[in-house]
Each structure stands twice: as C-alpha cells, then as structure tokens.
Symmetry: none
Subunit: 212 residues, 4 copies
Amino acid sequence: MARPSTNIDAGRAQLLDVVEHLIRKRGGGPVTLTELAAEAGMSTANIYRFFASKEALFEAVAERWFEPKIRIMEQVVSSNLSAREKLYEFFARRFLLKRDGYLAEPELFVSYLDLGDQHEDIVRGFIDLGDHYLAMIVSQAMDEGYFAGLTIDRTVSLINLMLVPFIDPRHIITLMHSVSEEKLHQIVDAMLLGLREPGLATPHLRLAAAAE
Amino acid sequence: MARPSTNIDAGRAQLLDVVEHLIRKRGGGPVTLTELAAEAGMSTANIYRFFASKEALFEAVAERWFEPKIRIMEQVVSSNLSAREKLYEFFARRFLLKRDGYLAEPELFVSYLDLGDQHEDIVRGFIDLGDHYLAMIVSQAMDEGYFAGLTIDRTVSLINLMLVPFIDPRHIITLMHSVSEEKLHQIVDAMLLGLREPGLATPHLRLAAAAE
Amino acid sequence: MARPSTNIDAGRAQLLDVVEHLIRKRGGGPVTLTELAAEAGMSTANIYRFFASKEALFEAVAERWFEPKIRIMEQVVSSNLSAREKLYEFFARRFLLKRDGYLAEPELFVSYLDLGDQHEDIVRGFIDLGDHYLAMIVSQAMDEGYFAGLTIDRTVSLINLMLVPFIDPRHIITLMHSVSEEKLHQIVDAMLLGLREPGLATPHLRLAAAAE
Amino acid sequence: MARPSTNIDAGRAQLLDVVEHLIRKRGGGPVTLTELAAEAGMSTANIYRFFASKEALFEAVAERWFEPKIRIMEQVVSSNLSAREKLYEFFARRFLLKRDGYLAEPELFVSYLDLGDQHEDIVRGFIDLGDHYLAMIVSQAMDEGYFAGLTIDRTVSLINLMLVPFIDPRHIITLMHSVSEEKLHQIVDAMLLGLREPGLATPHLRLAAAAE
DNA sequence: GATGAATGAGGCTTCATTCAT
DNA sequence: CATGAATGAAGCCTCATTCAT
C-alpha cells in the first residue's frame, strides 16, 4: 500500500539509461546536465528530483558499473572455498564479466572507462572496496600458511600488481586472446607459493638496459 | 619590417614547452589558458598570437607527441624493405620509442595520455594517419601474396587488434616486461602466414559459459 | 457544494502555525516553501490553495504578528481618553505586549524579527498604519493645544524618534531593565509640554569634536 | 616603476563604492552580483577580476566598515594610558564614530547593518577581533588590581553585556540622546570598582514579575 | 608586439510557481 | 482536494575569446 516516493527509483534508472545512451552515441567526453536533460526530454532542474547533485548522479552511474563486480566479490568472500580457490575465483569471475561486457558493446565499454577517468574520486571508493575484500581473502590465506612474513597490505598491493592484466579494464581489450583461466590459475599458484618476505637483493631494470 | 613569422614559430615552440612543463609538474587535469599564460609569463590574449584557438594549441601538442612516430612511419613506408620487414619495423620502432619515453619520464608520459583523452577528436586524426600508412604496407603485402581474400581495411583492422599491446601506450606500462622484439617478430609472421579469409566457424565464449 | 472557504481559513491558520513552529525550531533563516510543505506534511503545490504566493503567505505571517498591536491602536484611538492619556496608552500597551512576548519565547521573538528583515516591504505597510493612527492622536492633541507650530507629520516623526526604545523590538531585549511605565509617562509629558517649533539654534556634535 | 597589478585596487574601491551607492538607493535587501554588475556598468564575470568570490567582496565591504573602528582599537590598546582610561576611550571613541556615521547618512547606516545580518559569518570575525583587543585591556586592568577573581574571558563577556548600548549599532539610533560621555565614564568606573567574583546569590527576574 | 580589460556562453544549483491528474 | 511532476528564472562561478590601446 505504501508507495514511498512514487517512481523516483524508476526515474533514476531511466536517467542512468539515458546517460548510457548518451555515451554510447557520442563517446566519452564530459556529460553535461544540460546535455543529459535535453536527451532525457526534461529540464535540468528536474534532474534534481532524482539525484541530489551531479556528483550523486555519477556515483549512481559508477554503482551500476560496479554492482555486479561487488556481488561477485561478496559471494566469493563469503563462500566456503579454500583461500587458493577464493583467490582464483575472485579474479577469474570478474575478468570474464568485464571481457564479455567489452565483447558485447566495445564502444560503450570504453566510454564508461573514460567517464571513470573524469570522476576518479568516485571510482577510488569502489577500488578501495575491492581491496577490502581482497584483504579478507589474504587474511584467510595467511591463516592457511601463505604469504609468510608479509603484511596484509603489502600482500594486497603485490597481488594487485601482478594481476593488473586481469583487473584493469583498459587491458581487457588487449589481453583477451592471451589470457586464459589456466594462466590465471598458474599465476595464483605462483603467488601463493612464491610470495613471501624477500631474501635476496632484487635485480633491477636489466631488461630495460638490454632493450636500448 | 623584421621577419614576422620566424618568432611566431619560436613562441609556438616555447608555449608547447610550457605546456609540457605544466603537465610535468602538476599531472593530467585540464589545462586552462589562464593557467598556461601564467606559467608562460604572458597574457592569455597573447597566446592567440601563436595559436588561433585552444583547439589549435592542443593540435600542436599532439603533433609534437606524434611527430617522431610519423617520421618513423614515413621512413618505413618509403623504404625498400619487403612487406614483412616493413611490417615489423613499422611497429617495433614505435613501440621502443614509446617504451623509452615512458621509462625516461613516466609521469609526464601518463599526463600526455590524459591530455589525449580530453581531446579525442584531435588524436583520432593521427590514428587515422597511422592506418593510412599501414594500409600502404598491407597493399604491398597483398602484392606479395599475403592476406588472401581479405580487404585492405579489414586487414588493417585485424592487425591493429592483434598488436594493441605494441601500439596502445596505456598498455606499455603493463606489458613492458612481457613484450619483446622476438614476440613481435613471431606475431608479425603469424599474421602474414595466418591472416586470410576464415574457412570455419569460430568457437566462442566457451570460457564465459563455464564461468557462470 | 460544501462550504468551500471555511476550511481554507483553517488551513491558512494551520500553515501560519507551521511557520511559527518552523522558525521556533531552527531559527531565523529564510523559509523555503519546500521546507514549509515538508513540515506541514503537504505538497508545495497545495500551499497555493491557501495563499496566492509566498509573498501573500508572509503578509499573513506579518498580519498575525501585528494584529494584536493593531487592535490595541484601534481601541486607544477610538476611546474617549484625552490626547495625553491616549498617547501614553498607545505606546505603553504595545511595549508591554512585545516585552512579554520576548520574555515568553525569546528565540521565537528574535526569529520573527529576522523574518521581518527579509520582508521589509511587507513590514513597512504596518509601520505606516501605526503612523496613521498616531497622526490621529496627534491631531487630537493639536486640537487640545499641544505641538504648537509643528505639522502633524513632523510631530509624528519626532515622537517616533523619541520613543524608539519603546517601539523597536530590537531594543526590547536590551532595554527591558531600564525602561518603565513611569519613564514612558515622563517622556510623554515631556513631549506634550516641550515639543514645539524650535526657537533657538541646536547645539550640535560638540561631543564628536571633542573625541577626535 | 613596478606597477604590480594595474588598477585592480582602484577597481576594487570603485566596486565598493557602487555597493554603497546601491544600498544607499534601495535599502538593505541582498545584493546580487547581477545587480551590482549592472549598476557598475560591467559584466558579472568582470567582477571576478577584482574579487575572487561574492564572499570576498562582502568581506571587503565589511572591512571598509570596520577599518576605522579597528584603527581606533589599535591606537587605544597600544597607547600609554591607564587601564581605566583605555577602557573608556575604547568604547567612547567608537561610539561617537558610529553615532556620527548614523547622523550623516541614517539610511545608509541602517542598510549596512542589514548587510551585516546577511553575512553573519564575516561579521563575527571582526567582532572576535574586538574581543581580542578588549581582552588585552582587561589583562592590563587585572595587572592593576581590577576584576579580582574573574577570568579574562568572563570579564570580557560581562563588559560587552553592560555596554551593549554603546556598542551595538542597532541601539545607536535610540540611545543617541540618552547616552553621554559622563554616563560612559560612570559605567566604566562602576565596572572597574564593582566587577569581581560574586559573593552572594543573584536576585532574579523580580522586575519582569512586577511588570506583569 | 603585447597587454589589461571585458565579455558571453555555459556549467551547476535552488526555488517559487504551475498544471494535469 | 491534493499531489507529483515539471519548469524557468535567477544565482554564483569559470573560461575561452575578443579588442582597444
């Protein structure tokens, strides 16, 4: 019986659709409220019935983008799998999700990335959230004996570094053909076995010198 | 009475230096003419003596960025090499140029990329130019018997797709360690030997299905 | 079919209550229709059933504030008292009314004053009305021989000036302890006896010169 | 030789004049940049050459208003007078300044007060500055044996309370006739002699009850 | 050749007001 | 009778651009 605020949510969703339609049709440049209002067939003032600010609107856009990834992370973290399996699933599932998203609508995918570049602050929150979940898995892994001598934070940072090609959507396009589940498995295992407090000095930049 | 346009060119170059200095020192955000004028020690109005518009200025910035790449492409295309050798040189030389540029000044490199994101239209022109040169090489390759059954455009597109890791500067950072001249050689050969009209249906997305 | 306007008046009164409740609870800032509607549990649009405009609403607020003062003035003016008695009652009764209002709810009192500041045009009308009544008393006083050589307007102005501490609510707070009915009596008598065309030059600003 | 920023200061001053002219001619309502620009014969954008924001502009307006008062306070505080003399001068000089300002242009004076009401935050800073100077005098007075048992802050607060009629411009209008240098002298002396830690319970509100 | 001055268009946001239902 | 929906005007601010000097 109680319909709290009519169809405000529907309007919100529709506006997000319009944003999507907009960047789908004209690429990644900054989205203006004027432009959005025109495309949505409403006044700029009316947009404020649905979103408290431009910032809030693009938070919602980001949320729409990140929501399925977050659901995956939650599922994986709260599952009964071993740390090794969780680690694998944690990255594999999201990688496949992004890759398929790109395959379905390459240009839209890229435009979303551009949008993310323009709202780094908003994006950062979601990235931190991902690190938070990863830290929970790392913690479990430590309980199981992995990552000896490393802090959680440092481990999280190293893992992110090694798996950039599976995480960064900018690289999804490139790596679609060279990345496979087997490789991810291998890398995850390598991390679990090999990531620990370093015992010897690191050889540095030899490759770069050779390439000159 | 004096040579009028000679100093214009000098001023232009100096302004481009200032732009570089600016993004080197404060990262990738949008560059304002006010900001640029202040850094250059001149009035915003005076900038218009050197560039007809902000757009023109950033065209020049892009030109400065792309100029060495263009020279490479011209040299390669107009050389006496075989299509196979041209194809290799075409990508290898530019890849090394970018990689070294990144290694020399990583932050400046990234800031330039950000700038490129903000002026996609300008960038697109240079990309098209690259495709134009590539098409000339592909044409020669076809004369030499490669790419049977494919159109020039389609071949150019496929090649670009396969070589993204060697082209897209966004990937240079990530892929520096996993990319080598040998690999490029291999890929080029694989393209020449393998790229032709497809004869059988492509198996697709099996991974995605499994991941669900 | 039913009595239409009866409930309108009730709604009007209720809205004025809500305005009062609002400024009572959050002080004197500008009152927004959105805010008022929320507090009243109705839509902003519905407010227009009761008041033709925001202006009209605040006229009503002012009227509620001024109404008891007006009644007092009417009673005094239409009474059978002498000019001297009228003059005293005219100011004394209203002063006590305001002072007690302030003592009862100091913050509400102050908030109303703030509201008045934001709607000077509305307030001015009521002030003019007060001057009108005062002029009637002055006229009677002149008939009784007072204020020789002065015009009505000038007399009204002078009286207002001398009695500011008894009139201006802004001063009520400060002067509560130093003002008394006896003093008002004295001042009224002084005015009646002393206010007449000046016969000698006014000594002026000697203090200011000394202070320099 | 170095003329730092042309006539930005002149423009600033002129704009403040325009603000003054504006409130002189149409009273105290909020001053809009559009309105100000129109009156000044320039575009709103151009105002920003002189003031970084609307806030900054009204800070300057306030500064213009407070500047002579501040100079007086500085002079008094840094003089060689006794605490008693300083205390008297501190309030007397500023009171005379305000009173004369009101006498010279009553409506302008009032409009400035309205403006102050609309920018309370800006005004508060200057009021705090006044308290700071007063605290220095109080400190000296304590060295001379006054205000036994009281803290500086509490003394400052009490003094401000007792001298409201000499400080608050809202009361200047009223009190012009009832306030004199002698009275101020008396009050100052009374404060110096009488203000100390209270020894007996305070009788409360008897007056208010009597007035009922 | 170079500058300070000035502008207009456009961006985000708030709010009183209207209207179909 | 009342509402949600929608708007337009106005406010502050930024910035590329122009122009007289």
